[in-house]
């Protein structure tokens, strides 16, 4: 799998991934003398960076964090590279001072601790050679503040019975937005929908498979939906109701990304 990324600090790092699902502070979060992770909330307590590629959503805490990254890097105890969802100045400055390659604009939840990984900041990408990417479009139709959820039938290939947005696989080289329009037509019978936004890709991992979901938001002129064989029921919900539904993995993140746009 290849994920596009934005270069923050130049360079390339190769190795295994170390992933925290929560924001991280290098002050208090790691021991300066050993490079051992201390922050319990990361789920990595007791691990050492040891040159691995460290992925976490974003930095937090004191700006002294920049100096802490520098100190770890100087002693060879820090990560070999850094991947963030969204870079902020503390970690970005630290990576530059420490000479560590760094990228952001990557959904770090698509990476698992232990994955083989190549971080190529200069090429602007992150590569997971052992992970197979399955690109998918996921479309939220919106009408007067409500968005459409559909429940997947027993006849589809995956996640039967779960709630989802209108979705479909992308075939090689296909334009995601065109595929999105087509899926809407097939699954709902609606033709006159209006493109509103495409969000940043959300990566949902399922073992060594990664569903790379391209989120879309379209406005629908009406609410009458004609389902095809792929779905068995539908519901127009307010976006804050999504937690009440048993959905396909990470559908809430896909919705947030679609609503936010690029």
């Amino acid at each position: 799998m290849r994920l596009p990324a934005r270069r923050i600090a130049p360079g390339r790092a190769e190795g295994t991934a170390l992933v925290s699902a929560v924001p991280f502070s290098f002050v208090g979060g790691a021991d300066a003398a050993s490079g051992e992770i201390l922050d319990e909330a990361t789920g990595l307590r007791g691990e050492r960076f040891g040159g691995r590629v460290f992925a976490f959503p974003h930095g937090k805490g004191s700006t002294v964090g920049s100096y802490a990254i520098y100190g770890l890097a100087k002693r060879g105890l820090g990560p070999g590279g850094i991947i963030n969802d969204r870079a902020e100045t503390i970690v970005a400055v630290g990576a530059i001072l420490g000479g560590l390659p760094m990228v952001d604009d990557v959904d770090v939840r698509g990476i698992l601790t232990g994955d083989r990984i190549v971080l190529d900041a200069d090429a602007g990408e992150v590569v997971l050679p052992d992970v197979e990417a399955k690109p998918v479009v996921s479309v939220f139709l919106r009408n007067r503040g409500r968005v459409l959820l559909v429940r997947r039938s027993e006849r589809v290939g995956s996640f039967q019975g779960r709630w989802s947005a209108v979705s479909g696989y992308l075939e090689g080289g296909e334009d995601p937005r065109e595929r999105a329009v087509q899926e809407v037509r097939e699954e709902t019978g609606m033709k006159a929908v209006t493109f509103r936004a495409e969000g940043r890709a959300v990566v949902a991992r399922h073992g060594s498979t990664a569903y790379v979901v391209h989120p879309f938001l379209f406005d629908a002129p009406r609410r009458d939906v004609r389902l095809d064989w792929e779905n068995v029921e539908h519901r127009w919900i307010s976006p804050d109701e999504i937690d009440a539904f048993d959905t396909v993995p990470r559908l809430k993140d896909v919705l947030i990304s679609a609503l936010r746009g690029r």
């Binding site: 923050i8 300066a32 700006t63 002294v64 100096y67 520098y70 100190g71 100087k74 530059i96 001072l97």
Partner: protein, 366 residues
């Protein structure tokens, strides 16, 4: 330069803009620790500042540390941090109130300051332009002489995001309470205040508290700050502030009841404020020590006030400040009128806090 370009890219800044001064936080050994000491010493081997640069308070007064019971190792490392900064060419005055030290940036001047209260004062009261820099980015800007042009450097970044309609009567200590209240409401927004008048000193306390409980880099005061006329308030959410709201804030931040120190600073006091405190202490001597935090310049300018406070068992400490100094080795509860102090003392100094007006505190602990 690479730091500034990376920050500029992340913030979608179209260019770097030249600056006339820098102010760098991250000088207290208590705050930056060994990682900061190591970096600053390495950096000082080559780096030199390109514009007039001031630095935040240290972790102790290096001329009085023995009397304060500061461990020698701490003082030695603190001394090395100061030396590293001075090697880089900064002005050797360690203050969180660079705007009181003579060289004040003017209206529209671009600067790169860290230290949240100084940022708030420079933007709001002086009309200068700076983002809320972190220590490392302000240092990078000092060396390059420029900073990324985004946020508060641009007209559109200086527009208010919410209005505070203040019905309460605000005097002296009330500005700290109002700042704490408004910062919590405003978050990372930009407040527009109306309903009171204020001196420059009042605005200093308001901004310091505002920039602590919120991450505000600027505010407007109707008929009070230089850019209020260009602020567009139409359609903004309005928050009304009554006396009771401020009393709630005072109670919320009061976490102790038996202080063993009265701490006055955060930010450092001006010469006028120091003289005023000396008069109050002389009139109502407290039975617990009073520590007053000022810049070296102010301490040297007010020998009589210093002597008065010391005669009553207090201290006037220079080049350091209330929340970045070493208190936790001696004290457990600090009484202070500073909103910023009340906000940071529990986390940075492991102190309980009694937040109240200085006159009330002196009378209560006389």
């Amino acid at each position: 330069m690479r730091i500034l370009v990376a920050i500029g890219d992340m913030s979608r800044a179209p260019r770097l803009v030249p600056i006339t001064s820098a102010h760098v936080s991250g000088a207290s050994y208590k705050m930056v620790g060994d990682p900061g000491l190591e970096f600053l010493e390495d950096f000082a081997l080559e780096a030199r500042v390109a514009v007039p640069t001031t630095v935040n308070p240290l972790g102790t007064d290096l001329r009085q540390w023995r009397e304060l019971g500061v461990p020698p190792d701490f003082a030695e490392k603190q001394e090395r941090i100061a030396r590293a900064y001075e090697t880089m060419g900064v002005r050797p005055v360690y203050s969180c109130t660079p705007y009181l030290l003579g060289a004040r940036p003017g209206m529209g001047e671009h600067i790169a300051w860290s230290e949240s209260n100084a940022v708030c004062f420079a933007n709001s009261v002086l009309g200068a332009r700076t983002n809320r820099e972190g220590g490392p980015s302000a240092l990078a800007a000092a060396i390059v002489g420029a900073t990324p042009d985004y946020g508060l450097h641009r007209d559109e970044g200086r527009q208010p995001t919410l209005v505070f309609d203040v019905g309460a009567r605000i005097r002296d200590f009330g500005f700290s309470l109002l700042g704490l209240f408004a910062g919590k409401e405003a978050g990372d927004g930009l407040p527009y205040f109306r309903g009171f008048r204020a001196t420059e000193e009042d605005l200093k306390w308001l901004g310091a508290a505002l920039a602590s409980s919120g991450s505000c880099g600027m505010f407007h005061l109707e008929r009070g700050t230089p850019e209020w006329r260009s602020a567009k308030t139409k359609g903004l959410r309005t928050v009304r502030v009554a006396e009771g709201d401020l009393e709630d804030v005072r109670r919320e931040y009061t976490t102790g009841d038996r202080p063993d120190l009265i701490g006055l600073g955060s930010p450092q006091l001006s010469a006028d404020e120091l003289r005023g405190i000396a008069r109050l202490v002389d009139r109502t001597p407290p039975r617990i020590p009073v520590w007053v935090f000022v810049s070296r310049i102010v301490r040297d300018a007010c020998p009589e006030a210093v002597a008065t406070i010391e005669r009553h068992g207090g201290r006037v400490l220079a080049d350091t400040c209330l929340e970045v100094t070493l208190l936790e080795h001696r004290f457990g509860t600090v009484a202070t009128p500073s909103g910023k102090g009340a906000y940071y003392l529990p986390s940075l100094c492991k102190q309980k806090v009694v937040l109240d007006d200085i006159r009330a505190l002196l009378e209560r602990y006389a």
